[in-house]
């Protein structure tokens, strides 16, 4: 056994795992800030930006004029409740409220992302 794993390896692996866990916890705290708005984009183009403070129901209409998805904003969270796509994956995705969270509906090319008015702390990390 001594040939396969040594004392140094155990220390090394432990340090790396602890580092990874601590790092991910720090990132979680930094990133998971409450968002202010939800930006909806259809086919890569910005469809509209809605404040999370006001409860609304957004019908997302594609270029053909048909309603493809319905997004409901309630209690500072946005959730996709209706979609025309067959798999309905976007409805199964959990409601979003934190900064940078998103719901993606690939068949209809609809992306809803939560953004915040204040700049995220990400710039500090990427330095």
């Amino acid at each position: 056994m001594t040939k396969r794993i040594g004392k140094n390896d155990i220390i090394f692996l432990a340090v790396i795992i602890i580092f990874a866990v601590v790092f991910s916890i720090i990132l979680k705290i930094v990133f998971l800030k409450q968002g202010d708005r939800v930006d909806i984009s259809v086919d890569g183009k910005l469809y509209g930006s809605y404040s999370l403070d006001t409860d609304t129901e957004v019908d997302i209409v594609n270029h053909n004029g048909t309603v493809t998805n319905v997004l409901i904003i309630k209690n500072h969270t946005a959730d996709m409740v209706e979609a025309t796509c067959p798999d309905k994956l976007c409805i199964k995705q959990k409601a979003i409220s934190k900064d940078n969270e998103s719901i993606v509906c690939l068949p209809n090319k609809v992306i809803a992302t939560v953004t915040s008015n204040t700049k995220s702390d990400i710039d500090v990390i990427s330095q």
Binding site: R4, D9, F12, L13, S24, L27, S126
Partner: protein, 164 residues
């Protein structure tokens, strides 16, 4: 020299087969871009048995060839960034002579993911994807651990047969 060229060919073929097998079985870890890294077995085996420079050569050739066969220009850039960073980190760790293959492989797995992510962040100019770093470090630890155990066993059993 003749022996070396033969070894390069054999190991390059082996690495390409590993790439092919990996492209065939879609082992998904839930995060896009996370792969097992089977070819790292070949790189580690070469590092420990044939030679460090030979491992680098085969690694680069493997990435370029596999990119042409199974991927595209972008996948070559990504793989090259990950492959080179992980090679450098693994070499430095091996040179210290304090660590066994398992640690070397884990460090290689992590640095491979980080190298790819840095290039991805530069290419799409979206630094938000650095958010994936913790997930990629953890997946690098897991895949590096599996590959480390496998290549450790291989080096122990047949590693000394390739000495030139």
């Amino acid at each position: 020299m003749k022996n070396k060229i033969a070894y390069w060919g054999v190991f390059l073929a082996l690495a390409l087969v590993c790439s092919y097998v990996e492209a065939l079985i879609p082992i998904s870890f839930g995060i896009p871009g996370v792969k097992l890294g089977l070819t790292n077995i070949v790189v580690i085996l070469m590092m420990y048995s044939v030679g460090e420079k030979d491992a680098l050569l085969v690694s680069v050739l493997r990435i370029i060839l596999a990119g042409f066969l199974f991927g595209n220009a972008f996948s070559i850039i990504y793989s090259l960034a990950g492959g080179m960073l992980s090679y450098i980190v693994m070499l430095l760790l091996k040179k210290t002579n304090k660590f066994k293959i398992l640690s070397v492989s884990v460090s290689g797995g992590i640095s491979h993911n980080i190298g790819q992510l840095i290039i991805a962040a530069l290419i799409v100019e979206n630094y938000n994807i650095l958010y994936y770093i913790p997930a990629l470090i953890i997946s690098g630890i897991i895949t590096g651990f599996i590959i480390g155990i496998l290549s450790g066993e291989i080096v122990l059993r047949i590693g000394n047969r390739f000495k030139l």
